[in-house]
Symmetry: C2
Subunit: 97 residues, 2 copies
Amino acid sequence: MKDILKDLNKAFENRVRLGIMSALIVNEALTFNDLKSLLGVTDGNLASHIKSLEKSKYVSYIKSFIDRKPNTEYRVTELGKKAFESHLSAIERLLKG
Amino acid sequence: MKDILKDLNKAFENRVRLGIMSALIVNEALTFNDLKSLLGVTDGNLASHIKSLEKSKYVSYIKSFIDRKPNTEYRVTELGKKAFESHLSAIERLLKG
DNA sequence: CAGAGTACTTTGTAACACAAAGTTATCTAA
DNA sequence: TTAGATAACTTTGTGTTACAAAGTACTCTG
């Protein structure tokens, strides 16, 4: 496969993961439920996509209790931010021929 | 699923199809072999992705013989152009929060 | 300890991506 | 008229992915 496609990061090909990344770049920190209602996906589906982004070290989390409820905050890592940016610029290059 | 993701067109989620559409929007008309070497994919893979875009009426083709060789020219349809543009603007909206 | 809420994990299934090999069609050259 | 070349597919098989639904673990309150 040529570079023109190779530069597109497969981790961001899926719409849910694209949504997670965009949301986290815009919002800095979001909970599981924030993402769930923002994206409108099921628990399991969201969890698995988050997990794959964690595995790539693109997303990190901090667990705590807030208002006596479990609260997991997700953030993009520096690596994630960079990877996402270069994915976007790969798309731009693609579109400009 | 929320609108934020629903506006992303699943037909363009795949990298190869994204590449085909971009190439055809920039280039107006390309042959099977043009696309094949541009994207660096196998015959079968390319054919199946083109077929799915044809099925959505996003791409059309004209078959002929040029230089005594079979020549299939692919183009984006108006529908395809519009669909692709609104996909891109959905991505933009997503990124701007 | 029951119940509620968050955040998962497991399970099962259907869709998808892809390479490799096989097929069809139309030409040229002998 | 038939063998060979090339383009453009189609078929087949396999591994990967996406997803919903159901189940589980944890930690709180009453």
